[in-house]
Subunit: 126 residues, 4 copies
Amino acid sequence: MGEEFNPSKPIYLQLAERINYQIVRKELSAGEKLPSVREMAIRSGVNPNTVQRTYSELERMGIVETKRGQGTFVTEIESVLTTLRETLKKDQITHFVSDMREMGFSDEEMIQGLEEYFQVKGSKKG
Amino acid sequence: MGEEFNPSKPIYLQLAERINYQIVRKELSAGEKLPSVREMAIRSGVNPNTVQRTYSELERMGIVETKRGQGTFVTEIESVLTTLRETLKKDQITHFVSDMREMGFSDEEMIQGLEEYFQVKGSKKG
Amino acid sequence: MGEEFNPSKPIYLQLAERINYQIVRKELSAGEKLPSVREMAIRSGVNPNTVQRTYSELERMGIVETKRGQGTFVTEIESVLTTLRETLKKDQITHFVSDMREMGFSDEEMIQGLEEYFQVKGSKKG
Amino acid sequence: MGEEFNPSKPIYLQLAERINYQIVRKELSAGEKLPSVREMAIRSGVNPNTVQRTYSELERMGIVETKRGQGTFVTEIESVLTTLRETLKKDQITHFVSDMREMGFSDEEMIQGLEEYFQVKGSKKG
DNA sequence: GTGGTCTAGACCACA
DNA sequence: GTGGTCTAGACCACG
């Protein structure tokens, strides 16, 4: 139990990122209930206070809604989920481009490399 | 001193990857001397034997040449460095595509996202 | 227990050579389990780490396959074993010719000497 | 100083073999003086008594002659040297064939392997 | 049990 | 100094 956390970043943010990731991957669907704070604390191997902070942060971002006495739920507002998806996409791309540039690759090489990859491995079109 | 290592992967391999990365980023140029085994051990916070194993591995891959009593040097064979560069590129791309697909993005969305990114931020052509 | 090793050559390589030799002589057959690292260490009178290194080397050469938690086994890939056999043959011949030449014998004398030897002692044809 | 000796065989015989080998390689020519017992003992790192025994053995075989007060000399009798040469050749061949047979090679494979070797590496004819 | 990794500390050959 | 090997002893993941 309890995957590891990078000590150089607040755990509550890392946990939030993981949940966002799960939402975009549809492991958590719109309207679905998140694990209770205590449950999530045990699963993640962190303190319940940390989970609480994560949930608050997610609520501040509009990604989850807390219903008193019932629990915390993924928002059903489509636009929020779409934005979240776009945000994560952008983050991934930013990180990718940054790494590739550090290795000295040009924009063309990245595009080209991707297209070659798709051709070889077979593509998944949207 | 002593950067962190992921406990789920052998340290000697992670260290090799870091060095490969440094070579591709030209933080280490062709023919340049690597830190001595002992020096690198101190810098990395690991045992000299572990560094030794890393250097052996790199030598086996042809990325590094060792001269007894003198030290360990980045190879000057161009083709090896080119291959290394291509390998790391492929790895990055594989990882990127894998993550993006897990988040449900299509190949088109990745390419498109990249191109948008380049247009907004300004491109670096090869 | 504990056969002797030539101090002028790494033990882990000498041990590997011995095992290769045993395989070619069919004292170890394809698919057969090698002694465990610890067992072999005791038999050979060396440290388990040294045996480990030998087994790693053999695996790198494809001569041996290791199954986690089960042991190390001689490969069943015929081509590898054939190649090994050919390699050892070549090594033997190289060594023989080198010694004979040092003693001043010509190629003809070697061939001739061999043929005489076979005639006198009785031959084993393939 | 002092090459190593195989503990499984008398040192005096190993030393005799080495000297025979040197004679056949013409590092010691017919009639040439061998090092004095004391000198040889130092060079070989063995006890002078052992060298004495080696020289006696060589004299028994007719390979050297001892002249009181002058030293020990390689014989000048051609037939003895020829025989020695033939004996060493036979020993080499016996050892070679024995090893190759243990590895399962047929007589044909040995001859064939030798001939291939000569073709590739270039032959030295007598 | 198995193999695999890591540390600690030692000794060696080379230059 | 450099890299290379070896031992001793520990801990881990796998089955």
